[in-house]
């Protein structure tokens, strides 16, 4: 399936550099519960790196540590040579995070949601901001939603606005939390193309937390599997076509057994 919108995407000329991410001995406890257990990971600059795993395995918590939104119990995350937990790092690295639920500002219109970043950082005049915002909205077919408020949008539209907001930021490190959840297949394909095209044109490092096998196996340079707060395996797409690990194999190719005795009582 081809998604027409993505082919029209042209990123602004990228000025600056792209950053890799190094996670060393990362542990995170919430109270007595260990959520991340000795995570060691390296994402190379310009790479599309997918984090897969079942719900509750710690993928989003790991992503939040990379974004500097959580403090580690022990261990560290570095973006290039900078400590991700240091607020100063955000002055040195353009980082964008596409939240699973969008995290749009409910009191602002869609247009103002997108315009907030360039306005606050005084990146260009109002005409320049308008051009950037409308361009980002057009990539995700959201021109007609510019004056709407987030409360008027469906879950999928909110997700697309969140992605458009990340594009306006022209990031050097782009983090996605379940970018294709709640999207229809055509929009999922468009988004898959956008992630790939963006990397091609700007060399931006992309870390994608996803359950979507199509997304991961179409564009990821490498994939990591998380299970119960640990990294179960890291490899290229090819490595996971026929995974040796039975847990990963079961996650990627679950067997649907309609005669499972567990569901007998439902009959």
């Amino acid at each position: 399936m081809t998604a027409p919108a993505a082919s029209s995407y042209t990123a602004s000329p990228f000025v600056g550099r792209t950053f890799g991410v190094t996670v060393t001995g990362l542990n995170k406890n919430f109270g007595r519960t260990a959520v991340l257990k000795d995570i060691n990971l390296e994402v190379k600059p310009g790479e599309i790196f997918c984090l897969m795993g079942p719900s509750g395995s710690g993928k989003t918590v790991l992503l939040k540590h990379i974004a500097g939104l959580e403090r580690a119990t022990s261990g560290e995350v570095r973006i290039g040579e900078f400590d991700a937990a240091d607020p100063e790092t955000r002055n040195k690295v353009h980082l964008a995070l596409v939240f699973q639920a969008g995290a749009l500002f409910n009191s602002l219109s869609v247009y103002d949601n997108l315009a907030l970043y360039p306005r606050e950082h005084r990146q260009c005049n109002e005409a320049g901001i308008r051009e950037r915002v409308m361009h980002a909205l057009s990539i995700l077919s959201l021109e007609k939603a510019a004056n709407k408020f987030p409360s008027d949008l469906s879950g999928g539209m909110k997700k697309r606005v969140a992605i458009a907001r990340a594009l306006v930021m022209e990031p050097q490190l782009l983090l996605y939390d379940e970018p294709t959840s709640e999207l229809d297949p055509v929009m999922s394909a468009t988004l898959t193309e956008i992630i790939a095209t963006l990397r091609e044109q700007t060399a931006v490092t992309s870390i994608v937390v996803t359950h979507d096998r199509d997304l991961a196996f179409n564009i990821a340079d490498r994939v990591a599997f998380m299970m119960d707060g640990r990294i179960q395996g890291v490899g290229t797409r090819a490595d996971f076509k026929t995974p040796a690990d039975p847990v990963i194999a079961n996650f990627l190719n679950p067997v649907i057994d309609l005669k499972n005795p567990r569901f007998k009582q439902l009959e």
Partner: protein, 252 residues
Amino acid sequence: MNHLTAILGHIGGTLLLFVRSVKFIGTLPRQRARFIEQCYLIGYTSLPIVTILSFFIGSVLALQSGYSMENFGAKQFIGTLVGLTMARELGPVMVAILIAGRVGSAVTAELASMKVYQEIDALTTMNIPPERMLVLPRLAAILVMMPVLAIIANLCGWYGGALVCQYTHSISVDSESYFTALKTYMKPKDIIDGLVKAEVFGFVIILVCCYIGLNTRGGPREIGASVTKAVVTSLILILVLDYFVTKALLFS
């Protein structure tokens, strides 16, 4: 011991929020739209309730003091009593209580829901400090609006007292005598002290409500809990601070 540590942690966190917000004071001129919006929300929309309540507080004060003072023939001093009490105490305290209930709750609910629905996290990743965009304009607005509201409360209270004195048969103190007594024994310092108290209360209310809102964790239920906590904490702080600020101002 854990409780004490938690309280000290909250005090430290609130002070840190203040320091982090003040750091961005230079950005206030370009945040004038947000500042004006907050002045409107804090000041203009609170005006009707401040006017009505302070008018009736002044009226009741005149009624009660007229009834008591008549017994020892001091009715001519009702104006002084109402004037001083409104300016030094009831004006600033009542405005602060109203602001805690009306504005403080709204600020906490807004920031708590932004926190719970990850809008604060989104701001942080966009390198837009919440202290700059959300806290500083509110702090600046309250500092401007609190003295205005306190002056309006004083005036309404004084006029409420004057009306009661004039038209209550058992008191029968005409407005001219009432205002003469009010002017004779009141000094500018009395009004200024009241405005200083209003500033302190307003500042503390907004700071505490912002801190509690921004530190909310959980879901919709915790938003409600944060609002209750913020309003209760603000009310306690207003009355505790009232004692210490009054003492400091009286003996300064």
